[in-house]
Amino acid sequence: MTAEMLILVLLIVTALGFDFTNGFHDTGNAMATSIATGALKPKVAVGLSAILNLVGAFLSVEVAATITKDVLKIQQTDGGAKGALVEGLDANKALIIIFAGLIGAILWNLFTWLFGLPSSSSHALFGGLIGSGLAAIGTTGINWHGIFGKIIVPALFAPLIACIVAAVGTLLIYAITNGMSEIKKERGFRRGQIASASLVSLAHGTGDAQKTMGVIALALIATGHLDAASVAHGLPFWVVLACASAIALGTWLGGWRIIRTLGKGLVEIKAPQGMAAEASSAAIILTSSVAGMALSTTHVATGSILGSGLGKKDADVRWAVAGRMGVAWLTTLPAAALVGALCFWIAHLIGGAPGAVVIFLILAALSGYMYWRAQQQKVDHSNVNAEWEEGAEAVSAPTSTPTTPQA
């Protein structure tokens, strides 16, 4: 096997690993409220979400071959060779940039998961790529305009818009159904909640699986295994199958720590609020893509849940938890960038295939450590809905006293 081929294989494995963390990091965006209100049993919820993510990933035909164009200037953005590397950049360097960026993204995803914090997987990926791009090329390789307009501005407004919409929805729902029996309300809104949450899962599959397909396509183009011009007519089937499966598998395993924070940590959610939150998320994710602004599912979902708390008169919003999330959002991009840059330097110093193997081993070791750390205070389907203790970090969530029945 040539060095280039080895790096390519490691990169594809790592890209699928990122896709997997993307899936389990984001299960909560769609399903946390349904699990918290009891509309769906925990395992049923993640199963439904996984299937819809899988279907969504297969449904999407918008091939994101120019995945990096919003943050880096390493790909041609138009013409017949759209998606190919810009002139002057060799395949090996490009592979290492993408590889190091992916490692930054995965490690940050796992780190935030360990603390039960929902953070944007897209921000993690872009952050990682920006970091490795800066380390490899310097500031000229960065698309500053794209970063500002496509990432920073939407990130500031997504939670705000979602919060307003969900708060208005919650207010209206409670005003309209005032006086109805609680049982009837719960039953009706649980159904509505399941429908709207399903829509969020489907939209997530069509959007997010594309990112990984794009990364793999880019690596294949860089090494000459795929013709840039042919990408417009679709990607090789194995790429679509592998990416769809990886994100669905991640979704199915469920990021329980994050589901717990979103469903129980921010606000104590009742079914009417759950429906308002999911309807708001679905509407915003779908309309923002029309307006040419891809908002992060994570930011929208979190803003919506917060809004469903603000819209109900006597609901308590745990601002300390919301604050921790805010910190995680602000740090996602720079933190992933730092890891991405470090990985590039390490790989570059060692050089060639050994360099790639070393950063892959670093990724495996740190991932293993974080997984082990998480197992010490495990959160899963049995204790995801346990009482939230004020001030408790997700890593110290209760383990021995499951309060919900087994799913």
Binding site: G56, I173, P272, G292
Partner: protein, 89 residues
């Protein structure tokens, strides 16, 4: 000022669909409950059917939402274009 106009568009449409639809669903539920005589009023079949109709409208919009998510695929594989041109790439 592209960004500002995109954001306000998302906010307005988001309010209509994201808050308006749940409100419509709630109205439907209330009409249904009232029609069945659950809100200290005599049962009224007309109200009950109004309730069903409102919930039906919400369902139709959800189906349109799913068609929207899958629009590119339907257009690509089946040449099915149910939305106006601006929706397609």
């Amino acid at each position: 000022m592209d960004i500002v106009s995109s954001i306000s568009k998302v906010l307005v449409v988001g309010l209509i669909l994201g808050a308006g639809l749940p409100a419509l669903f709630a109205l439907g539920m209330r009409a249904e409950a009232a029609g069945e005589g659950q809100l200290s009023r005599p049962a009224n079949p007309a109200l009950k059917y109004l309730g069903y109709a409102l919930v039906g409208i919400v369902l139709i919009v959800i189906v349109i939402g799913i068609l929207w998510v899958t629009r590119q695929t339907l257009s690509y594989y089946f040449d099915l274009r149910i939305f106006p041109d601006f929706a397609y790439k």
